[in-house]
């Protein structure tokens, strides 16, 4: 389904989704991030990219698996499987959209994760094509994506200045558009040409190049023992920014959080974990197979550009550039891949 939506009708459409939780980018605390939208008037799609990615909607940083307590000396478990309201997220950049099928693979291939899918099945992603890269660190095209990629999105909107071209891609997407009813206009002659022109222009902007993407896995494998990794991680501080903000990083830890030791009440909780933290690989013996930051940088890059390619035939990186832009010391995954490939 393809429709035209005038800029001022966007609010109307959002208001008609009143039985859903609607999220859209908002600029607060000096940064764009997704925020709950109470009314259509709150929507502002002038954003660059959000600091957090859409993975947070399906893989929240804290997921309670179940509650436990002791009743008459017997442990009792209570299910906490999420049952969220249908959720619509506006303003999703195509790089984040492309992250989603990668996450789906991880949470589906060997084991269908009920917590992930309970959220995923209720989630509708409304993408917004990037008419031009919003950061010099964008490299979606270098990893097989595009500024108007539909991959992983339910709807793709393209900004045509005074109006949006809106394309329903999935059943969920078409349903969300049908709910907008009269807010939409039919596509007229010339609209299609204009969309193509905007898309063509958006692809013409220079992006950070990755020469010979197919040769990267081999290059990484061959440089496993290279001193380059330690050199490139020389100024790494070992924080979790790169992976926590990444739209495809999905490693987690599971802990029991005891609320009351007397009643034995507590929760089993899944939280994000991070290959850059020392306890990620630390053994009980005290031995840590990835004791230094070089080996942890190698792991992050290898997972995305070697192991994931071997296991799932695609990179686990969609070129959003967050890990580059937000790194406090300028570690740049594109530069890292360039050096490894040399």
């Amino acid at each position: 389904m393809e429709k035209i939506l005038n800029q001022e009708k966007l609010r109307e459409w959002v208001d008609m989704l009143d039985d859903c939780e609607v999220y859209a980018p908002a600029f607060a605390d000096s940064v764009w991030n997704y925020a709950r939208i109470e009314a259509g008037t709150d929507i502002d799609l002038s954003h660059t990219n959000t600091i957090g990615s859409v993975k947070e909607f399906v893989f929240p940083q804290r997921e309670v698996f179940f509650r436990f307590e002791k009743k008459d000396g017997v442990p009792v478990l209570t299910s906490t499987l999420p049952d969220p309201k249908p959720t619509v997220v506006f303003g999703v950049r195509p790089c984040d959209g492309r992250g989603m099928p990668r996450n789906d693979t991880v949470f589906n291939k060997e084991f269908e994760d009920p917590y992930y899918w309970a959220r995923r099945n209720k989630l509708t992603l409304v993408g917004l094509a990037c008419n031009q890269p919003h950061s010099p660190n964008c490299f979606c095209q270098s990893v097989g994506g595009s500024p108007h990629s539909e991959d992983g999105l339910d709807i793709l909107m393209t900004d045509l200045g005074d109006r949006f071209h809106v394309k329903g891609i999935t059943v969920k997407g078409v349903e969300a558009m049908e709910r907008g009813r009269d807010a939409f206009d039919a596509v007229r002659d010339g609209d299609q040409t204009e969309v193509e022109k905007v898309h063509d222009t958006s692809r013409s902007f220079p992006q950070r190049p990755l020469d010979n993407l197919d040769a990267i896995p081999k290059a990484i494998r061959e440089s496993f023992d290279s001193p380059l990794w330690a050199d490139m991680a020389q100024h790494c501080i070992g924080c979790g920014i790169c992976t926590f903000l990444c739209p495809t990083c999905h490693c987690f830890d599971i802990n029991d959080e005891v609320i009351s030791p007397t009643t034995g009440e507590g929760e089993r909780v899944r939280t994000w974990d991070n290959c850059q933290f020392p306890d990620f690989t630390m053994h009980t013996s005290g031995h840590n197979p990835r004791a230094d930051l070089g080996s942890r940088l190698r792991q992050r890059v290898s997972h995305k550009f070697l192991y994931f390619v071997e296991n799932h035939n695609t990179q686990q990186c969609t070129g959003c550039g967050r890990c580059i832009t937000e790194c406090p010391v300028g570690i740049d995954i594109v530069a890292v891949l360039e050096r490894v490939s040399q």
């Binding site: 600029f27 605390d29 000096s30 940064v31 764009w32 991030n33 002038s46 954003h47 660059t48 600091i51 957090g52 940083q61 804290r62 031009q132 890269p133 919003h134 950061s135 010099p136 660190n137 020389q234 100024h235 501080i237 070992g238 924080c239 979790g240 920014i241 926590f244 903000l245 830890d253 802990n255 959080e257 909780v269 939280t271 994000w272 991070n274 933290f277 020392p278 306890d279 630390m282 009980t284 013996s285 005290g286 580059i324 832009t325 937000e326 790194c327 406090p328 010391v329 300028g330 570690i331 740049d332 594109v334 530069a335």
Partner: protein, 346 residues
């Protein structure tokens, strides 16, 4: 004006004369318009050093990292290290010396005066550009900073005072007090903000307002621990908020490891993140030299500096103590004077 050539020449001569094994400095990077840290070990690399208001990092962190690495190295290289340091960074070196992390002769401080300006605050810049990226930041003199916005051909001129970091606006010692050499003019008189201006302003809110503000911020914390990781004073091998025992020896019993007390759960929620940030702030009381790194690196922009400067304000008002200003002075928490206030003893 600081002549960057002088810094390069000095760094090169230190390396040439083998007075240091490396010089920590700034260079242009590929990731952003801000300078990135570098460690140069060859004379020829000195030419890549830069100096301008985009040199944000406190490089003292890497002195700490080096010491830690040498401590476990099979053949430790304990030769001195040179460090390019702003006024605040030099105070970090000062605190590390006070705490005997290394000795004075282990470090050559290449002081650089901020000359009455300071460094650009990336959050203030983001506010000005509404999240857009600066592709180039240049300093045109004492008053203005020129910013080229990515994807936009125009250059924006922003009055320096509007985008300099709060710590720079409040700075009392823009010229490194601890140094082996200083480049740039000594500028003491500053007419930006009074010391602790931002902390005082935050204090003036009501208790309810303050709690609402911090609840909002702690709730947003991702617990990426970048604030802790970037802090040169957070050098503990094992942190109270870590969920794992890191310092494990052959003598550590299984019980000890299994029964590690969790003061702070891994969950990033308001209560746990409050415990983390408040604990960290308390552990830095009388030690924080206000380099603002914790606040700069925060990906969700929690104003962490306010917590630390609040405690430094207490240290200053109650004990006339300023962290890192005098390396001969005993550190705040390990010293006692007869005139110290003791109203808390009843």
């Amino acid at each position: 004006m600081v002549n960057v050539e002088e810094i390069r020449d000095y760094a090169a001569s230190l390396l040439e004369k083998e007075e240091v094994k490396a010089v920590l400095g700034f260079r242009r990077g590929s990731a952003s318009a801000f300078a990135e840290p570098c460690t140069i070990t060859e004379v020829g690399e000195a030419a890549s050093l830069v100096w301008d208001p985009t040199c944000l990092n406190n490089l003292a962190l890497y002195l700490v990292k080096d010491r830690k690495q040498q401590a476990v190295a099979k053949t430790p290289d304990n030769r001195p290290v040179g460090i390019v340091a702003k006024g605040c960074d030099s105070r970090a070196v000062g605190v590390l010396l006070q705490e005997n992390f290394f000795k004075r002769e282990d470090v050559v401080v290449i002081g650089v005066s901020c000359e009455g300006t300071g460094v650009v605050d990336s959050n203030k810049l983001s506010d000005k550009l509404k999240g857009k990226t600066a592709s180039r930041i240049t300093f045109s003199g004492a008053d203005d900073i020129n910013v080229s916005v990515y994807g936009d051909e125009t250059e924006t001129v922003i009055p320096a005072q509007e985008i300099l970091a709060d710590r720079c606006l409040e700075c009392r010692a823009a010229t490194p007090t601890l140094h082996d050499v200083v480049f740039g003019d000594t500028v003491e008189a500053r007419d930006f903000n009074e010391p602790f201006h931002a902390a005082k302003e935050a204090e003036s809110a009501s208790e309810d307002e303050r709690w609402a503000t911090w609840e909002h911020h702690f709730d947003r914390c991702l617990r990426c621990f970048a604030c802790r990781a970037v802090c040169p004073m957070c050098y503990c091998h094992e942190c109270v908020v870590d969920s794992t025992t890191f310092v494990v020896t052959l003598g550590t019993s299984a019980e000890e490891k299994a029964n590690r007390i969790r003061w702070c759960e891994r969950s990033a929620n308001t209560s746990e993140s409050a415990v983390y940030h408040l604990t960290r702030a308390i552990h830095l009381a009388g030690r924080c030299i206000d380099c603002g790194e914790c606040e700069r690196v925060c990906p969700v922009n929690i104003p962490l500096r306010l917590l630390n400067t609040k405690l430094e304000k207490e240290a200053f008002e109650m004990f006339e103590y300023q962290a890192g200003h005098d390396i001969e002075q005993a550190s705040l928490l390990s010293s006692f004077r007869d005139e110290d206030p003791n109203s808390f003893i009843r």
